[in-house]
């Protein structure tokens, strides 16, 4: 029981440290431009929190989180575009390409800010619930699940590109000016957006941690490791996986929604196959089963992408692929498993490994 308290204390300390870094150190140290980039990376980290739950804990290789990220992002961007245009006017791109004289019916509810905000989370979750019911009931798993997720990401991006007049097509929804009445040109408001993103990320981490530590979290690991056995204990594994999948989708949707004011754009190129894989790479490199690992990994890989692709635009893609393969082949637990390894080595005679309740560490 002491050990349990020790782990909680360590997690609380990690949480406090993260809050200090996000709310004090980073805003003081970084230029407005770099802080804006960090906001973008933190959105990626939110997706990684969901991936940690669904993939790391539930064994669901979610290679299509771009779909949910995109649903959240477009829901938010649609509202902001309508708000930018002002009452009675059409969003700019519709005036350029469109023949329509009024908003398409499925845009109209997004004029309401509350509807739009709710939709950024509930829309991805609903879609995930429907997909998940279909997929998990039919016992699609492993590589088939991954391929299916990826195909969905591709299909969604292609569909968006085809709807030039109502979704902005390849360009996406761009040039977003305001965020609920605040101008995004103003650095003060950009900073506010950063703080909102940092706060939401911490909240999502706390939520995921609660889920992982709960009885549900233990059951999820059991389903990951031996689905058949769980069924013989009287559970329906489809429901267990569904919860993780839906929660991960909601987190990705929220990340997409907050990405829009941070970056000012959402487009098919940000949600298709490549970004969907990139979401997973960050979590894999950092450690998919560890929250801290997944979050730090996501931020690190997103940062490396910006930095390295500025210097070597062509080489980055290869480097990224290599990183993924090396992580999966040689370090399946990611960098977080190194931390656990070092800790075990550091404390040689821990009496009989009075077992950590979760196998791959909470290196918070």
């Amino acid at each position: 029981m002491n050990l349990l308290k020790g782990r909680s204390a360590r997690a609380a300390a990690g949480f406090a440290a993260a809050a200090v870094v996000l709310f004090a150190v980073a805003p003081l140290m970084l230029s407005d431009f770099r802080l804006g980039l960090l906001a973008k990376y933190l959105c990626t980290a939110m997706v990684a929190v969901g991936i940690c739950l669904a993939w790391g804990r539930g064994g669901l290789l979610t290679l299509g989180q771009g779909v949910f990220f995109g649903l959240g992002g477009y829901a938010m961007a649609m509202h902001l575009k309508i708000a930018d245009a002002g009452p009675g006017n059409l969003p700019d791109f519709m005036q350029l390409y469109g023949t329509a004289t009024e908003l398409p019916w499925w845009w109209q509810p997004f004029a309401n800010p509350l509807f739009a905000i709710a939709a950024t989370v509930l829309l991805p979750m609903t879609v995930a619930a429907l997909l998940g019911l279909f997929i998990f009931r039919r016992r699609v798993k492993g590589a088939y699940f991954a391929i299916l997720s990826q195909a969905l990401a591709a299909a969604f991006a292609i569909w968006l590109i085809g709807q030039q007049a109502t979704t902005g097509g390849t360009n996406g929804l761009t040039d977003i000016q305001g965020f609920f009445g605040y101008s995004l040109d103003d650095p003060v408001n950009q900073r506010m957006v950063y703080f909102v993103i940092a706060a939401v990320l911490l909240l999502l981490i706390a939520l995921a941690r609660q889920l992982i530590q709960s009885r549900y979290g233990e059951l999820l690991v059991a389903v990951r490791d031996s689905e058949e056995r769980v069924r013989f204990l009287g559970y329906d594994p489809a429901n267990v996986k569904l919860v993780a999948y839906v929660v991960a989708a909601g987190m990705a949707g929220l990340a997409g929604a907050l990405f829009v004011p941070a970056v000012g754009i959402i487009s098919p190129a940000l949600i298709g196959i490549v970004p969907s894989i990139e979401f997973v790479i960050g979590a894999a490199v950092g450690g998919r089963a560890s929250l801290a690992g997944a979050v730090l990994g996501a931020v690190a890989v997103a940062w490396a992408k910006t930095t390295l692709s500025e210097e070597f635009p062509a080489a980055w893609t290869y480097f990224q692929g290599l990183l993924f393969i090396v992580a999966l082949a040689f370090l399946p637990g990611g960098l977080a498993s190194l931390a656990v390894y070092v800790r075990r080595r550091g404390a040689p005679k821990a009496p009989e490994q009075k077992a950590p309740v979760v196998p791959v560490g909470e290196a918070a």
Binding site: Q210, L211, Q213, S214, R215, Y216, E218, L219, V221, A222, D225, S226, E228, R229, V230, R231, F232, L233, G234, Y235, D236, Q353, K354, A355, V357, P359
Partner: protein
Amino acid sequence: MSELSGLEIRQLRVSFDGFTAVDGVDLDVRPGDLRFLIGPNGAGKTTLVDAVTGLVRATGSVRFGEEELLGRSVHRIARSGIGRTFQTATVFEELTVLQNLDIAAGAGRSMWTMLRRRKDVPEPVAEALETVGLTELADSLAGTLAHGQKQWLEIGMLLVQDVRLLLLDEPVAGMSHDERQATGELLQRISEERTVVVIEHDMDFMRSFARSVSVLHAGKVLSEGTVAEVQADPKVQEVYLGHAANASAAEDVSDTAVVQEA
């Protein structure tokens, strides 16, 4: 715990691509029995258990108490009080012994309970830990247990699951003599409150602990009764003798022991 129930199987038939693994089995296990299913390899013992627990499709009828089981999904059959183990112990290796048992105890838990952390050791889990002798190892990862301990953990999981029918597939395979003895005594104790069916190849173990025996051969029930009755049955002798005469595999020696003692 609710009252004891018996298992009643009628004309059970399982086919895979034209091969009939279980061919019209009738089997009655009365409430509180400790029934051993024996028979040569390929007799259909495990397939029979697979059919009862919903893992393979079957025709006929399987009733436990008042309930018809055939056609239900695996987890629904489990919820109606039927639990099983497998030839190779399948426990959740990356969870602790305590977590394994807690999960097994929890199929009926509410959403609210599931979303909270386990604060203490639930009463039935503590009892099961005691019963199967794993209290000391409660916080060890199940993957680090010895083979016999994993089998006990599985039995413990069935106990906290509060099943009324235990179907055990070779529970003592690979155990030492002392472990077998302990397992046998455990099964006898368990069968005072529950119905137990054991698939076993170990004839010494069967003779020591069986209350009744069914012999399966080529997908059919060949003989049924007490240990003595079955051993005296000429049909059983013929099958095992014939089997032994045609094969010199080492494991058949233990099978023929039935006959030699008869």
